[in-house]
Symmetry: C3
Subunit: 347 residues, 3 copies
């Protein structure tokens, strides 16, 4: 029951210019090197242009500039990667045809679910929730009381929403996600112990937010934790209490953002990059992988930290010298002075 | 059904000195900048003292030294942050009024649950468990056989306890936590493969331990993994087999502690800091975020590693020079020698 | 109902040479320092050889070279650590005696389960799955449609397999694992937003793969994500879409591998080490903890990055100087030139 489309149908779908055989059948997508005659491919990175000569693909999505290099069928579009992204959805596994509520799901009588909402086996939806049109609530997910879930949002199995969390429209939450757990807040009790600070705020997600498997976004301590529209979050990300993230920002796996920090819009946060609390990152900032961000950033641009990778034996020497860097700096300053004195003396 | 208290009631609760209108009603808490006339705020960090002049808060918790600067109502206490922490619990969402056991929960007949224990929908409690007074076992949680859970402990939905795990009193485990999974132990089989070492120990948590969402604490290989009283653990933390953590230690998100390492009492472990296996950290050590701890620490104090953040273009230059640091060190030593020889020669 | 074996039985099991009392009863395993007269221990690291004189263990597994140093009973084998690993399984908690399918599990009528498969409470197995002989499907786990699970594989409670995932024989997946969630793929839509790229590939695991608690392995975008036989994965690991991992490779907690990267066979990836996308690591590479791998590696060996740990005050100085490293390099070069000129001048 797989998808099959002619190039004419695909061209119409994408509003693309078609060169070649309009009746060619396409049953799947693949990279230029792997594609067969029934598969469609794309050229986005010019580095791969030489593959246009050798690919067996049934058709290739290309920019007008590269169209002449395509040997077989070409679909010409201004942004081949974006067109490819749109096409992938046609070849995806189909969603369930109609709303189902598994009888094992436990739905509180005061929860308001649009009739089109599907609820998987063993899911639990508590009192006062509002779940809008077309949502999918995955098996074994837990939606605590008074949550609001916008239309078209898909929650995969085994997701938790703590009480009063709010999701916008067309969000996707992957398995293992935890939204709205307590922020990490404790006051020293003056005797070596800790007094827990009850976390009274909420977690609010905008529209079209995607959250990867096993990521967590904590609830606010007093105010709310706020994630903007179109924010894309990879697996194992941790967003602390009262963080704010601007729209369109994307963050790779293991990003950790400490409490009350503000991340701007359209930022790209590399994998395993970490952010101190109570700082502010402006819009259009990119942090490379493992970046250690301990202060605010006010200028757009790309930032990095770390030492790069070395053979361990060589690394150990550099690491020892790193410890002595301030000494080395002073030695060089002393040498410069002596050198200057020597030159002056010899004048 | 939100909470409402007079300042007189709050002052009594906190044993605070009240200056101002004892009948003022408080319905919530907020920061100095955001608080309204019905909300109570606090001053802990003196940096924010100027806000005392402008805040609209219905009352402010302050230290005696700052009391005179409060324009409106003041609640005077020796430790405003601690008093605030205690107050938050009054304004938290109320716990369920009475014990409930959802009929969909699967509880083995040999498990011993105090009558006051609540068990959520689709939870599973296996044979031989002992669950003490007042515990909450969240929906869809799995408590494997022979676990012991101390009085007052709260387990949020979707938590796993492997067999024979033990939790102390008044612990909190957030959603996604996994206690007692196998430690990472394999012996090379001499042929490029691995022989699994069955993990025979347990995981033991003390009293008042909090474990954040999706954190994991592995069971011991032979002996046990032991977490002391009042240890506070953020989200996505990983504690390996046979680790021991002393009381009152707090660890931020993504802390990873390798097997058999001992962490002292009252330590503060920064986010994403990592700890090699089989080392020992003494009491009262603080590690800053992303700290790389490869050896034992015997002196209390604060420790760091990493390079800080730079614009990527500048960072690339520094990273290249880091590789050459040992060379640079030797060049400077040579220059020092020559300079010394030059000076000697010119004497 | 704990295990009890004589040394004669154990010697036979391991094909070991026994010196001492063949009738000695062993009821458990322990380290040399902790073992009692009923417990068996082992010597693998020669560093601990002095403990052979003082241990109270009922017997010790040793290499022939150390056999003479054992005061009590000895079991002599060529690889004591491997022999110990094999023994641990005898003392592990027993698996359930016979297959059970809890009536609360929801198993689709088109799923094919071998009669010997056990399924825990509240588990969900969707249409078209094939689950082979002897598998255990833990409570509350979710196996989406068309998954294939090889014989002898054990899935702990609360695990998710997305549709069309495949596991080999004798795999172990710990609680919280998510296999086959969407890879992190989005195309910029040219207006500051993102177009999701549907993830059409699968996740394929070989035989005897172990995956630690809360780890995630994403499905491929077009092709598949492929994990080789005998790959051992610790907790909180993230493997991105279309990654390939060669057989026998082991990775510690918080390893993050970005999309389309190839990791060789028999590699050891240290905790929190990170791997850029689209790179290739050859066989027999070891990366130390927190290693930052941004380019391909073509030579076997051990590689590191990072700065090591310093007292924070000292670290701050080194971190400042790191920023100035390129300057320092140029200053030293200038000094070398002047020094050379000075020497030439004085000739």
């Amino acid at each position: 029951m797989s998808m099959s489309l002619t190039l004419a149908q695909i061209a119409q779908q994408l509003n693309a210019e078609l060169r070649g055989n309009a009746e060619q059948t396409i049953t799947g997508l693949a990279g230029l090197a792997e594609a067969t005659a029934q598969q469609l491919s794309f050229l986005s990175n010019p580095k791969y242009a030489p593959l246009l000569k050798t690919t067996a693909a049934g058709a290739v999505l290309v920019h007008p500039k590269q169209a002449d290099q395509v040997q077989g069928n070409a679909l010409i579009v201004p942004n081949p990667y974006l067109a490819f992204a749109r096409l992938t959805h046609l070849f995806d596994d189909p969603a369930p045809a109609q709303a189902e509520r598994h009888p094992s799901a436990v739905i509180h009588p005061t929860a308001q679910l649009h009739p089109s909402v599907s609820v998987g086996p063993h899911a639990v939806i508590e009192a006062g929730c509002v779940i809008e049109e077309g949502c999918l609530i995955g098996a074994q997910s837990f939606i605590d009381r008074d949550c609001v879930i916008g239309a078209g949002t898909k929650i995969y199995p085994r997701v938790t929403l703590y009480r009063r969390s709010q999701l916008g429209k067309n969000c996707i939450l992957h398995s293992g996600v935890v939204i709205g757990a307590d922020g990490f807040g404790f006051a020293p009790d003056g005797q070596g112990g800790w007094e827990k600070i009850a976390q009274l705020g909420r977690t609010l997600l905008g529209d079209e937010v995607e959250v990867g498997a096993n990521s967590t976004i904590d609830r606010g301590a007093l105010g709310d934790t706020i994630i903007g529209d179109q924010v894309k979050i990879d697996n194992h990300v941790m967003i602390g209490h009262n963080v704010q993230v601007g729209q369109g920002t994307a963050m790779a796996a293991f990003v950790g953002i400490s409490g009350s920090t503000k991340i701007g819009a359209h930022c790209l946060l590399g994998g395993s990059s970490g952010y101190a609390g109570h700082i502010s990152i402006c819009d259009h900032v990119q942090i490379t992988g493992m970046g250690m961000v301990t202060g605010s950033i006010t200028e757009p641009g790309t930032y990095s930290s770390g030492t790069g990778l070395l053979p361990s034996q060589q690394w150990r020497k550099s690491a020892v010298r790193f410890r002595q860097l301030d000494d080395l700096h002073h030695k060089v300053r002393d040498l410069e002075k002596k050198c200057q004195q020597g030159q002056n003396a010899s004048k």
